[in-house]
């Protein structure tokens, strides 16, 4: 396959089209504008629909409609815009509709700035919307993975009838790297049992998250959701380890932070410090078991994030008291530096 230099945001777009996505609804916001621009250029050429919605709220509800109608559908935004989608994501989750939502995070809170950041981990992973639900959260660390995970995201969404969030950051979206465009997975999902298409020769289908009667109807829906989540937790954790087995110190990071950690591991190894990296690729389900195994016997874990400490809670929940967990965070769209990471880890060794 040919190698192309592609911008992260555009790679998502092309990968979505490869995955069979023909409907995109979104609203402009930096730093992800190249994605809607790309879709507006490409989708009409492949018989698809690009629609710039009047707002992020409208966009996520158009996604809901298109998904209910059986389509593979995507929206994208960045932090403030994604906050506006919270109600809609909760509705999609309650109605068990598949959708792919991209968040190219920027510095917050509020209007903040447009530098890349990782401050929306809690929102994506714990659920920024109301009620008990989960989205599958994928954290690509570069352009190739953005493309590959986009294709995977559509399959996961359809397989589990769930929202899949691609949680990137502005830097990754803006970054260009050479990639090999992924092939379609070829997986086919039959939606005929539930999708809306007109009740031709069958009983009407209804897509709804409301459960009023009997009293425990909503509890039943939730129980089914929880069962599904347990299945996903078992089946879909993804992670990457590098130089972790013999390491004394384990760095944990996702997305861009993980790449900075990888450089830090090299630097540390060069300096004679046995460091390794554990990188969760799925943030939900969080690879807790794998991390606990990887962490066993380490002297210390250092979690590096471009936020004030979010994933670190899941790391702690994974290892509990078995290994001490330290945290290094950067705020407001600043990236962590290899130097400070190296310095921190060396301080443990002293």
């Amino acid at each position: 396959m040919a190698v192309t230099l592609m911008k992260g945001n555009e790679a998502i777009g092309e990968a979505a089209i490869i995955a069979g996505c023909r409907h995109y609804f979104g609203y402009p916001i930096t730093p992800q504008n190249e994605l809607p621009a790309y879709m507006s250029m490409r989708l009409p050429k492949v018989g698809g629909t690009f629609l710039q919605a009047e707002s992020e709220v409208a966009a996520i509800n158009m996604v809901l409609g298109a998904s209910a109608a059986g389509a593979r559908v995507m929206t994208s935004s960045s932090s403030p815009g994604v906050s506006l989608k919270m109600e809609g994501i909760s509705y999609l989750s309650g109605a068990e509709l598949p959708a792919v939502v991209v968040n190219m995070m920027r510095g917050g809170p509020g209007l903040g700035n447009i530098a890349g950041a990782q401050g929306d981990y809690f929102q994506a992973v714990k659920g920024g919307g109301h009620g008990d639900y989960h989205c599958i959260v994928l954290a690509p660390n570069g352009v190739q993975e953005l493309a590959d995970l986009t294709v995977k995201a559509f399959d996961l969404a359809d397989q589990y009838r769930i929202v899949v969030i691609i949680l990137g950051d502005g830097f990754i979206g803006q970054m260009s790297e050479p990639i090999t465009l992924p092939a379609p997975s070829g997986r086919v999902f039959d939606k005929s049992a539930w999708m809306l298409s007109g009740a031709t020769g069958r009983d009407p289908h209804v897509i709804a998250s409301m459960r009023l009667a009997p009293d425990d109807a909503l509890a039943h829906l939730n129980a089914r959701l929880q069962d599904k989540y347990r299945v996903i937790e078992k089946a879909e954790c993804m992670w990457e380890k590098s130089q972790a087995d013999d390491a004394e110190f384990l760095l944990v990071g996702f997305g861009l932070s993980a790449r900075i950690c990888r450089s830090s591991v090299s630097a540390l190894r060069k300096a004679g410090v046995r460091a390794g990296l554990f990188r969760p690729i799925t943030l939900w389900p969080f690879p807790s078991g794998e991390l606990a195994r990887a962490a066993a016997g380490k002297k210390k874990i250092l979690v590096v994030e471009m936020n004030a400490g979010q994933m670190v809670e899941d790391v702690r929940l994974s290892v509990l008291s078995s290994v001490p967990v330290d945290f290094l965070g950067t705020l407001g769209g600043v990236t962590p530096s290899v130097d400070e990471i190296v310095e921190r880890v060396r301080s443990y060794a002293r």
């Binding site: 970054m175 790297e177 050479p178 790449r259 900075i260």
Partner: protein, 178 residues
């Protein structure tokens, strides 16, 4: 080899494009590359810069906190970024628009009259290509001048392709003068 490059100037000087061209050329020569623009402050009137890594090995962090080579195209960029160049690194500065020499003494510096050379090649807008040419001369392991000229056709958007003749001349001009 591993080169961390940094390009800085103001919007409209073709900073991002220069970085992209380097990537494409280096890719063609089998290198790993990455390119991150600083995409301004979601507002007008900002500066533009980008970080490029060219490496024989897979690239871990695409960030370039301490570039081995840095091109600055205007004065604010010089003032802001000369300090980040790694000791022993290279700083190319656009003498046409900067009336003040770099103050660092622990790095290699090179003044390039980019606008003049570009103007001579056909348009001052090709100043970025002049700087790039100079960079290629000083850091030949990044990519060959031919490789860079070779990717111009792909890199430059259709609207501006008629400029590629000028670009080629500007690249060569910069290369020769460095």
């Amino acid at each position: 080899m591993y080169e961390g490059l940094f390009f800085a100037g103001f919007g409209g000087q073709g900073i991002i494009l220069a970085g992209k061209i380097v990537c494409l050329a280096a890719m063609g020569e089998g290198k790993h590359v990455s390119h991150i623009p600083s995409y301004g402050a979601e507002m007008r009137g900002g500066t533009a810069n980008c970080s490029v890594v060219v490496s024989d090995d897979e690239i871990a962090s695409p960030l370039v906190p301490r570039p081995s080579a840095c091109i600055v195209m205007n004065k604010p960029s010089l003032l802001k970024f000369q300090s980040i160049v790694q000791v022993g690194g290279l700083l190319l500065w656009n003498e046409s628009l900067i009336d003040l020499a770099p103050s660092r003494t622990d790095i290699e510096t090179l003044a390039v009259k980019a606008n003049e050379i570009a103007e001579a090649a056909g348009s001052y807008k090709a100043a970025n290509m002049v700087m790039l040419g100079a960079l290629l001369k000083r850091k030949p392991d990044i990519a060959s001048l031919e490789a860079v000229i070779g990717v111009l056709g792909v890199a430059v958007s259709v609207r501006h392709r008629e400029l590629n003749d000028i670009n080629r001349k500007a690249l060569t001009g910069g290369y020769e003068r460095a």
